[in-house]
């Protein structure tokens, strides 16, 4: 258990370091930051002084360490576009992204897992067919297109839900469904195939032979085993959640980090973009690590390995 968690924690830390390194290299490759920060009326002395303030006169590895130290202390630099600390801008947008992400996550669980279970125990039934279509669409349709289709139908043609922004309580519906669909599809597929394997196993037969009612077998014995594959896969899907929020927030003009990143990209606001990327990576790595812990909790074979 401990060995496993230490290993996963190590991977998380190395991932963050790798991303920060990539960002640092890219930021230096993108040119001298003084070009953006100083205007045309600055003098050579201003240039030099700014270089010293930013630590540009030091060797690259020292610059990286300074960058890392500042980042750990919550200093991600100044946003060019907004003229405020990047951290402030990010903290302002973070709740919207978390709200959207968690709602989508909840939808994916509440839709994907029950549908997966139902379609596995009622194989070939109507609900299984519906499940297949949901899964097939979710895995093939890019969220940005799905979102636009939902806007056309629900917001423009039928005028049931708002097409963009975060003004009303029901603003969350379309973005969350768009973002959650992919996971719902992934969960459905994984739960279904895992359930089919598990329900076919000898220990389910034995549990039935003990007198456990069918419902108890499905909910107690099979379900927990069937959660293992979706959990293993959750690490991969979480990555898509980050990507998804970039896309979905852009489509629905949702005031979160994803939209902030894209706006920063087009405004050439490099410090802001790299700040968002770092925060996203942190969120992602944190989520992946919690999944690993949960995984160990559910599967004793990992816990005691």
């Amino acid at each position: 258990m401990q060995k496993y968690l230490v290993r996963r924690l190590g991977l998380a830390v190395v991932t963050i370091i790798a991303v920060s390194l990539i960002i640092f290299i890219m930021s230096r490759a993108s040119g001298d930051p003084r070009h953006i920060m100083l205007d045309d009326y600055s003098t050579d002395e201003d240039w030099e002084r700014m270089g010293q303030v930013l630590g540009l006169d030091k060797p690259y590895w020292q610059q990286y360490l300074i960058f890392l130290r500042d980042a750990v202390q919550g200093d991600l630099g100044q946003s060019v576009k907004e003229g405020r600390p990047v951290t402030d801008v990010i903290l302002e947008r973070l709740p919207a992204t978390l709200y959207l992400g968690l709602t989508a996550f909840a939808i994916s669980l509440l839709v994907g897992i029950p549908l997966g279970i139902l379609s596995s125990i009622k194989r070939g039934s109507l609900i299984d067919q519906i499940g297949k279509i949901v899964a097939m669409l979710g895995q093939s349709a890019p969220p940005f297109w799905l979102g636009i289709m939902l806007i056309i139908f629900f917001a423009v043609a039928w005028e049931i839900l708002p097409p963009y922004g975060w003004d009303d309580w029901n603003s969350i519906v379309l973005p969350a469904v768009t973002l959650g669909w992919y996971y719902a599809a992934a969960n459905l597929r994984l739960v279904r195939s895992a359930m089919l394997d598990v329900l076919d196993s000898e220990y389910i037969k034995l549990a039935r032979a003990k007198g456990v009612p069918y419902r108890g077998v499905v909910l107690r014995h099979a379900f927990r085993n069937a959660l293992i594959p979706p959990l293993t896969f959750a690490g991969v899907t979480l990555g898509a959640l980050v990507t998804g929020s970039l896309v979905v927030e852009t489509v629905f003009a949702w005031p979160g980090l994803g939209k902030l990143a894209i706006d920063a990209l087009f405004a050439f606001d490099y410090p802001l973009l790299q700040g968002v990327v770092i925060v996203f990576t942190l969120l992602y790595v944190l989520a992946a690590f919690s999944v690993d812990v949960l995984y160990a909790y559910i599967d004793p074979r990992i816990r005691y390995a």
Binding site: S140, I148, V156, V242, T243, Y270, V285, A288
Partner: protein
């Protein structure tokens, strides 16, 4: 015993044994996916020959033309004939315009005027035109090229790197294996699209950058699968025999072990193509992909985003919709075909996603 008893009931003898035969045929063979994939491949390769128009030819007078089956939508309005139309007042029509409809019209009359809310479609633009008057069908056909090119280059380069490192890691084991696999773990743990955004912001958007980023993302998946395969194969008798016979390591790896992994490779590759196409489309949609005016499916979906207002009556929904359908059908076909291949070639591979 129970293994050969599927849940499938005997087809009913009366209503159409033939129909159920067709059903089973389509269930057994991926006819539709293969046909669609062939179509996409054909479109991509022969784009200049089959596209009805130049994909980048703009026509400002023919912007947002609907698909061919759309009839024009008009509305009859009662308007008052005046000398000069004042903005913001009741429906009015200038005398000169009114006389084009009814030469006898006088100032102060009321007259029925046909208002064109939306023009009809024509066979010139089968799937309509976009906000710059470019033919959507032609752009979809050309867009297939970008998707296919990105997928092909990524798979060839990423596949080669992945296979090579997978073979080496599996064969040598120990420290080499540990190093390669930890590197693979890290790469798979990095959220790729974010890195792509950073790279595009720094180096500018181009096909080369996109392909480079996708390749970095794809090769670890090949490496991981290949390594597992090699671990199984390397203890087999034919490998030991080759060793005893004095075959060199590269020879053993490429002549004896590699052919045994080809089934796996084909399956992994098919399933990854869909992922690559989706990622390329996503980057293009975000504006971090192949820059305009080059036609890309993701970019086209993005183009239509601002012209949805009006819905199905007056909105230009087709600009976003059709390229999206192209993506969905292509990726869905790849997934279905990949699933079928996996079951066919190697049922052991069920866990590959």
């Amino acid at each position: 015993m129970a293994a050969d008893v599927g849940g499938v009931l005997t087809p009913s003898k009366t209503t159409g044994f033939r129909l159920s035969g067709i059903y089973y045929f389509f269930r057994r063979w991926p006819v539709i996916p293969v046909f669609l994939l062939a179509l996409v491949l054909f479109a991509g390769v022969t784009a200049p020959l089959i596209a009805p128009h130049d994909p980048n030819l703009q026509s400002l007078t023919e912007r947002k033309q609907p698909p061919f089956w759309y009839s024009a939508k008009t509305e009859t309005q009662i308007q008052t004939v005046v000398q000069r139309v004042l903005p913001g007042s009741a429906p009015q029509i200038s005398l000169s315009d009114a006389q084009k409809i009814n030469p006898a019209a006088q100032i102060g009359d009321t007259i029925e005027v046909e208002q064109v809310l939306r023009p009809g479609g024509s066979t010139k633009f089968l799937l309509g035109s976009d906000q710059l008057g470019r033919d959507i069908l032609s752009r979809i056909i050309y867009g297939a090229r970008i998707s296919l090119l990105a997928a092909a280059v990524t798979l060839v380069v990423g596949g080669c790197v992945g296979v090579l490192l997978g073979l080496v890691a599996g064969w040598y084991g120990g420290l080499v294996d540990e190093a390669v696999m930890r590197f693979v773990d890290i790469l798979l743990a990095i959220p790729l699209v974010l890195i792509a955004l950073v790279m595009v912001a720094t180096l500018g958007a181009s096909l080369t950058i996109i392909v480079a980023v996708l390749t970095i993302f794809i090769w670890p998946r090949f490496a991981r699968q290949l390594r597992g395969e090699v671990l199984q194969l390397k203890n087999m008798d034919f490998v030991s025999l080759a060793r005893v016979a004095g075959a060199s390591t590269p020879r053993i790896l490429f002549v004896h072990i590699f052919p045994g992994t080809i089934n796996t490779l084909i399956v992994v590759a098919t399933l990854q193509v869909g992922i690559v196409i989706l990622l390329e489309a996503t980057l293009s949609f975000l504006g971090a992909g192949v820059p305009p005016p080059t036609a890309t499916w993701g970019g086209m979906v993005s183009d239509g985003r601002n012209y949805l207002a009006g819905g199905f009556t007056t909105g230009s929904w087709w600009i976003s919709t059709f390229p999206g359908i192209a993506i969905v059908l292509t990726v869905m076909s790849l997934n279905l075909f990949g699933d079928w291949l996996r079951d066919k070639l190697d049922p052991r591979l069920r866990q590959i996603e």
